[in-house]
Amino acid sequence: MTERLHAFVEKLREKNRDWVTDVVEGHGEVTVFVPKEHIVDACVFLRDEHQFDMLADLCGGDLGPEEEPRFAVNYHLFSTTHHNRLRLKVRLSEDDPHVATVTSVWKTANWHERETYDFFGIIFDGHPDLRRILLPSDFDGFALRKDYPLRGYEPYSLN
């Protein structure tokens, strides 16, 4: 199973050595670490040349304020023809939580990126409509960051 996935990783490396900084395998899944400036090119390459025509999921992650780089964005690619899955991962530092949008590659990235922005404050450059999606527009802070308290900053009150 994972041999086929590693073949895709090799193809990525052949195309451009800079696209792959690290590869991690676990539980039958392969994670490819991609530098943030190459993520759109790598996605277009995988979509056009290797039939990864669907972005199954895009989600953010926070390793905590003491980690550097602190944030991660996971791109779960899926193919509707050969049914393989590949995870691309972009690491972002807290000082510069910017990454280029992939809405031009897959339309579905639109809402996923809005959700990631909403919860982690990761900014997707070039996104057509980067607003909060689940939380109210005047919400203070980014709720899924590790340093955001479970009950929010305001003391709980019924008033």
Binding site: G26, H27, G28, E29, T31, D53, M54, L55, A56, D57, C59, G61, D62, N74, H76, T80, H83, R85, R87, W106, K107, T108, N110, W111, H112, F119, R132, I133, L134, L135, P136, A143, L144, Y148, L150
Partner: protein, 406 residues
């Protein structure tokens, strides 16, 4: 009226000219046809939809944050409340992600029972969809017939788990408990009666000319767009893409069952309707096969540090008692790692991204809800349709706001 709508689908210039008389209509969040608390900002020219902007988040409960503060086994009950029409599917996705991290092997009987309940749940979910979809489009009677069928399934789920809408029946490593006595007979009785109920729906809707004119040619999304928008489940198969994770990324032994994947090529509301109707028959087929495979055996994995021991063992064995205490009080540590596991839920691909840092609580749990992704394609599907057809398109997407807002 008809010609305006048709023209607008053909050429964009009609939409441009119409912009002068634009009107904004806020549909929802209390509108009965938005299936919960969805609000749509509709930009209209008369009855024609120029633009639709979904506004979600009214039901946001912060589940993904909550998961990080709960032990792995406590997270199961949260998943019930996500897509509340398909709780067992949510349970399955969550526990399978954790099992993948733990490398647990699930016994055969537990797998069969999981498949059995997931398919029953799929039928129940489709029954609610069919009833409300019909109700939205003015067909009131199917609703009552549908809920009668769903009631029978909920009774079966209640018999096994004690809960109707929040069963939490699947556990990490197996099941909460075994099936009650006489379950197979009750389930067979339901399956025997079910085809006749499906005939009723065919009589009421499938052959109904009003139903045809309300659904055919409405809410079209092409095959390429459907894939790019990430549509999954019946919505994708209604656009002619032959994809079903039960067959293509099999889990829980689905590869050993004999079933067909219904695909329709019309790309409209009607196609999505037909896919779900045909799916109900296939699900009933799988349930029947699962019933035949029910052999006595263990329902929990052999992992005493993860799976709660039987009550009987706890009375006799000291170590079982200790394990029980430790699992309940401290939880179990899950090895470091991250997984993405997805299943074919009733509405499409339900994916769970789970990351563990080695402790008893997950570092991150993210749910890829099929309703969330399917709804994001709505603006494309209703552009150039009439206001009344927006309701038809929303119904055909089969959204549940509990899962969209999480």
């Amino acid at each position: 009226m008809q010609t305006v709508a048709e023209e607008s689908r053909i050429g964009e210039n009609v939409l441009d000219n119409a912009l002068e008389s634009e009107m904004t209509l806020s549909m929802g969040p209390q509108h009965p046809s938005t299936h919960g608390v969805l609000r749509l900002d509709l930009r209209l020219d008369g009855e024609l939809v120029l633009k639709a902007i979904p506004d979600i988040g009214y039901l946001h409960t912060g589940m993904e944050k909550l998961f990080e503060y709960k032990k792995y086994q406590q997270g199961i009950v949260i998943t019930d409340r996500m897509d509340y029409l398909n709780p067992l599917g949510n349970n399955l996705a969550y526990v399978m992600a954790a099992e993948k991290l733990l490398d647990l092997e699930i016994p055969e009987r537990a797998q069969v029972i999981r498949v059995l309940f997931c398919e029953l749940q799929r039928i129940a979910s489709h029954m609610v969809w069919l009833g409300t979809h019909g109700l939205d489009l003015g067909a009131m009677s199917p609703f009552f017939f549908c809920f009668r069928q769903r009631e029978k399934i909920l009774n079966l789920i209640e018999a096994a788990s004690g809960g109707r809408m929040t069963p939490s029946y699947f556990r990490i490593g197996g099941l909460m408990m075994d099936l009650p006595a006489g379950f197979a007979e009750r389930c067979k009785q339901f399956l025997d009666d079910f085809p006749e109920a499906m005939n009723t729906f065919d009589t009421l809707l499938t052959g109904n000319t009003i139903w045809h004119s309300r659904t055919q040619g409405i809410g079209i999304i092409s095959r390429e767009d459907a894939i790019s928008w990430g549509l999954t489940g019946p919505c994708l198969r209604g656009s002619g893409v032959d994809l079903d994770l039960r067959r293509d990324n099999p889990y829980s032994g689905y590869e050993t069952y004999d079933f067909e994947v219904p695909v329709e090529h019309d790309c409209d509301v009607w196609a999505r309707y037909m896919v779900r109707i045909r799916e109900c028959h296939e699900s009933a087929k799988i349930v029947r096969q699962a019933l035949e495979r029910l052999k006595p055996g263990p329902i929990k994995a052999n992992a005493p540090k993860v799976v709660l021991p039987d009550r009987d063992d706890m009375r006799k064995h000291m170590d079982s008692l200790i394990h029980h205490f430790l699992i309940v009080a401290e939880g179990f540590n899950v090895p470091k790692g991250e997984v993405y596991h997805s299943i074919e839920a009733s509405k499409g691909e339900l994916g769970v991204y789970m990351k563990s840092n080695g402790g008893p609580k997950p570092e991150r749990v993210h749910f890829r809800g099929p309703s969330f992704v399917n709804l994001s394609a709505l603006p494309d599907m209703v552009k150039g349709e009439m206001v009344a057809d927006v309701v038809a398109v929303i119904g055909s997407l089969d959204i549940v706001l509990g899962e969209i807002d999480r």
